[in-house]
């Protein structure tokens, strides 16, 4: 029902293009996060959706109606959205109850109805007992929940979240990720979530739009995004990875010390002359003895260059050939190898992804 469409949206501040030709469609009830490093234009995009900033080009539509266009835009108060801010923006002059009720008051909801809805939402965010407290008396996590309650209670068409968890400590942040996801599922709201934290985006989102330099590099569900990054930026930004560049030789790709069959990289064998691939550290298995050849696996002789024990896993650097950067490999704690030991690295070719620049 609430469908949000950004068509070719761009924003230029003093000649600097902050957002550039952005296209994005949110289905009703979908949670999409905008993920990217600081300065990538994600917050500007969110503020354009909210109506605080006018786009320099393109349009934003809500349910088929244009709400933002370069000539003029619907002011934020007429969009029926709500927003959660990085600073929470809890009004210090009002109690928790008054904060939450404020939006309803503006909608001229009857007193009884207001009471009912405020109570209901405070129950959901587990803050009912703090109803008459002032924000200064609340902890960071409680303030965060007040912000959530205040934004949700008005039944917004779209809920916007601007780095909502960045001011919380690590444990609370992890808990609140699930809280936000739970609230999303409970109310089935259309949500746009801005963050620079990839695991936050992975936990909360239906789809993640990875942004870089004002553009969306890739938009996909978390699983595809990690497994099939399309660009070098996305592969590097979401999780850790190894990049390898190779040159095409007939039906194989030469990485300067070892070769992989072309068919392992692309099913139809069509590859450019220069090939860039990403291999996740989990896509490589280290073996003491040379394994039997299998489909979709290729085996390379290597040696351990460096290792670190991280408790949950081993972090190995293996060198395949003297001229190549070592590859990082993540191995289970039981898989112990010494530095300098000769080993066999078995790469799962289905986990090798071609990436462009």
């Amino acid at each position: 029902m609430s469908q949000l469409v950004l068509r070719n949206v761009g924003k230029t501040f003093a000649k600097a293009k902050v957002v550039d030709g952005l296209n994005l469609t949110l289905r009703d009830g979908e949670l999409v996060s905008l993920l990217g490093p600081s300065g990538c234009g994600k917050t500007t995009t969110l503020r354009m959706i909210a109506g605080f900033i006018n786009p320099s080009e393109g349009t934003i539509e809500l349910d088929g109606k244009v709400i933002s266009a370069p000539q003029s835009s619907l002011p934020p108060e007429k969009r029926g959205m709500s927003m959660i801010f990085q600073s929470y923006a809890i009004w210090p002059n009002m109690t928790v109850g008054e904060n939450v009720a404020f939006g309803l008051k503006l909608q001229k909801v009857s007193a009884a109805e207001m009471q009912r809805r405020v109570d209901q939402i405070l129950d959901i965010v587990k803050l009912r007992h703090l109803r008459d407290r002032y924000p200064a008396e609340l902890s960071g996590g409680q303030q965060q929940r007040v912000a959530l309650a205040r934004a949700i209670v008005v039944n917004p068409k779209v809920l916007l979240l601007d780095e909502p968890l960045s001011n919380l400590d690590a444990n609370l942040r992890e808990e609140m990720r699930f809280e936000i996801r739970r609230l999303h599922d409970e109310f089935a709201m259309t949500m746009v979530y801005v963050t620079h934290d990839q695991s936050e985006a992975m936990v909360t989102s239906d789809r993640i739009a990875v942004m870089n330099q004002g553009r969306i590099e890739q938009i996909d569900a978390p699983f595809e995004l990690y497994g099939r990054p399309r660009t070098r930026f996305v592969a590097g930004f979401i999780g850790r990875t190894n990049f390898l560049t190779g040159a095409r030789r007939e039906d194989a790709v030469d990485f300067g010390g070892f070769r992989l069959p072309a068919r392992a990289l692309a099913a139809d064998g069509r590859l450019p002359q220069q090939v860039q691939v990403s291999i996740r550290p989990q896509g490589i298995q280290l073996l003491r003895d040379k394994p039997a050849e299998r489909d979709n696996r290729c085996c390379i002789e290597a040696s351990i260059a460096r290792r670190a024990y991280l408790g949950e896993s081993w972090d190995y650097h293996i060198s395949l050939a003297p001229a190549l950067e070592p590859l990082r490999v993540s191995a289970r704690p039981a898989e112990v190898f010494e530095v300098g030991q000769r080993i066999y690295a078995e790469i799962d070719t289905s986990q090798i992804t071609l990436v462009s620049d």
Binding site: A50, G51, F52, L62, D63, K65, V66, I67, A69, Q71, S72, S73, L74, P75, P76, E77, K78, R79, G80, M81, S82, M83, F85, Q86, S87, A89, W91, P92, N93, F102, G103, L106, Q107, R150, A151, V154, N155, P156, K157, L160
Partner: protein
């Protein structure tokens, strides 16, 4: 969700809106800044422009240079200019001698009785400079002054050595009431110098004394220089103390000379021409002061400062305390004592005996004398109205510029005009107002409004500095949260900005109100018989030599000020006065 539907449909945007559409989406805040500009033209631009214009006009309004010839053609007038320079430089130097050691003692050392010294400095700040001058007349007037009597009694000389009606007397009195500026600026700079800086020098072998002179003081030198300039400007712009001391001493400074041009019949053109160098010097030096204090490279002044430990002075702490007490005796304790004595004495010269005590003076000015009663009422009415106008205007301007509701150039112009009165000496501003509003189209002279508007202009910068800081302290997201929930900007201002600002605005009001209640230099040029205020009355009474009444009026003013400051403490916490009056 129904509410959203209707508003969205009604307001959905076609590609290009019609006029009604445009109006609906046009940000109404433009009205605010257009009004603000209009008011600033009335308050700032017009008076200053007229000041310049009349300086080139003769009585008929034709162009002439005769005013400048008249103003600078006489050696008397040039001499007054010279006197002002001497006064400024000497008072500035004396202020450094007074203020810098005290700032160092209170900021960096383990000197005892810091609280007492603090209170005395705050007290000095509270006493209006012209009341201090009255105190010093009682102390060091030739013959009758208490200090002279004391010396005569002790040494048997037939005449006391002190004469306040002289240039040294004037310098001392001005310095006594300006050194708090030096103190505050130096101390706040010292407070930011981390002890680690001094430790670094100590560990390399420098003693406390060398460290202080080679490391600590050079670090705060820009602030000290800036304070010197500020005091210099304050001293040359002052009217009250010079009028009380220089006139009986038969010499002139610029401000008293300007006042004389206004003796009947007022020679506005001449006064305007004569005021120009005062204005020029002030603007130039303020610019210089900004450059000095804002110079980069003194990193230690920008950081948080790390750990700070007081320097142990040993027995020297008593010497340092002695100096602090000496200075505060000159500026605060002694004048206050003699003023109180005069206020409660039947005749102040009769001395300290109990039968000389009376409440008549105070009772008379508070309850009986109609003139003082109306003047008191006017003082608070005008100061209150002016503070209110200044604050509302400053808040509007601070809001639209900080929230970038106006484009950069308009915002810059608004800020500039609002801060411009800061570099205009009160007396110059008064001449500008006189020139602008005594003749049609807008005649305000003779009404209360000319005083109110002049006060408003004069203290607009203080109001603006405070409003700006207050608005900046509000995260814009607080307002944006209102807007995403369906409230307009006005709703956000009413329900969030105003309630949040209430306290700091009450404090800012007091900061404007206090100087407005004691303002003399503008009032003396703009008041009329029906619009007397206390400061003017006090000045008039000094002619009659009725020091008992004079002291009582001063004391009433001080008591009211203290009450207000205590209210300010409650609202904003200690040291709020010393924080923002000197920007």
């Amino acid at each position: 969700m129904a509410y959203v539907k209707t508003t969205l449909e009604e307001a959905a945007l076609p590609a290009a809106g019609g006029f009604a559409q445009r109006w609906r989406h046009w940000d109404k805040t433009s009205i605010v800044w257009i009004a603000a500009i209009a008011i600033l033209v009335l308050l700032v631009v017009n008076p200053l422009l007229r000041l310049l214009v009349v300086s080139f006009q003769d009585a008929e309004g034709a162009f002439t240079l005769a005013n400048y010839v008249g103003a600078y053609g006489r050696s008397r007038h040039v001499e007054a200019l010279l006197h002002s320079l001497i006064l400024g430089v000497s008072a500035g130097t004396l202020c450094l001698l007074f203020g810098v050691p005290m700032a160092w003692a209170l900021s960096r050392t383990d000197m005892p009785c810091k609280g007492l010294v603090w209170i005395a400095i705050l007290g000095t700040f509270i006493i209006p400079p012209y009341l201090g001058a009255v105190g010093w007349i009682l102390l060091a007037g030739p013959n009758a002054g208490w200090l002279n009597k004391l010396v005569v009694a002790l040494t048997g000389m037939d005449k006391g050595p002190f004469n306040v009606y002289s240039m040294p007397g004037l310098v001392l009195v001005v310095a006594c009431y300006s050194f708090p500026y030096v103190f505050v600026l130096t101390k706040s700079a010292l407070d930011l110098v981390s002890s680690e800086m001094e430790d670094a020098a100590n560990i390399l072998g420098a003693g406390h004394l060398r460290t202080t002179f080679l490391v600590t003081l050079p670090l705060v030198l820009p602030s000290i220089l800036g304070a010197f300039i500020l005091v210099f400007l304050e001293a040359i712009a002052l009217f009250g103390s010079p009028a009380l001391i220089a006139l009986p001493g038969r010499f002139h400074v610029v401000t008293t000379q300007l006042w004389q041009f206004f003796e009947f019949p007022p020679q506005v053109g001449l006064a305007a021409a004569y005021a120009m160098p005062l204005l020029a010097i002030t603007i130039l030096l303020f610019w210089l002061q900004r450059r000095i204090t804002h110079r980069r490279g003194y990193v230690s002044l920008t950081g948080k400062g790390g750990e700070r430990r007081p320097i142990a002075l040993g027995p020297w702490k008593w010497a340092v305390l002695g100096w602090c007490l000496l200075v505060t005796s000159l500026s605060f304790f002694m004048p206050l004592v003699v003023i109180c004595q005069a206020a409660f004495a039947k005749a102040w010269g009769r001395g300290w005996s109990l039968d000389n005590l009376t409440l008549r003076n105070v009772y008379a000015i508070v309850f009986e004398n109609a003139l003082t009663r109306t003047a008191t009422w006017h003082t608070f009415l005008y100061a209150g109205t002016a503070s209110l106008i200044a604050l509302v205007l400053a808040l509007c301007i601070a809001y639209v510029t900080n929230r970038q509701l106006v484009n950069r150039h308009v915002g810059g112009a608004l800020g500039f005009l609002t801060m411009a009165p800061f570099v205009v000496p009160g007396i110059v501003l008064a001449i500008g107002f006189y020139a602008a509003y005594t003749r049609p189209p807008l005649v305000l002279y003779g009404t209360a409004w000319i005083l109110i508007l002049a006060y408003t202009t004069r203290f607009l910068p203080i109001a603006f500095v405070n409003s700006n800081a207050a608005i900046r302290s509000i995260n814009p997201e607080l307002e944006e949260a209102v807007r995403t929930l369906g409230g307009s900007r006005l709703v956000a201002i009413r329900h969030v900005v105003v309630p949040v600002l209430k306290r700091s605005m009450a404090g800012a009001f007091i900061l404007v109100f206090i100087p407005a209640t004691r303002e003399l230099s503008t009032a003396i040029f703009l008041y009329s018989i029906n619009t007397q205020v206390l400061s003017v009355l006090l000045f008039d009474k000094s002619d009659e030599g009725n020091f008992e009444t004079l002291a009582s009026i001063g004391l009433v003013l001080v008591v009211i000020t203290v009450t207000l400051i205590l209210a300010g403490f409650r609202l904003m916490g200690r040291d709020f006065m010393l924080r923002r009056t000197v920007a």
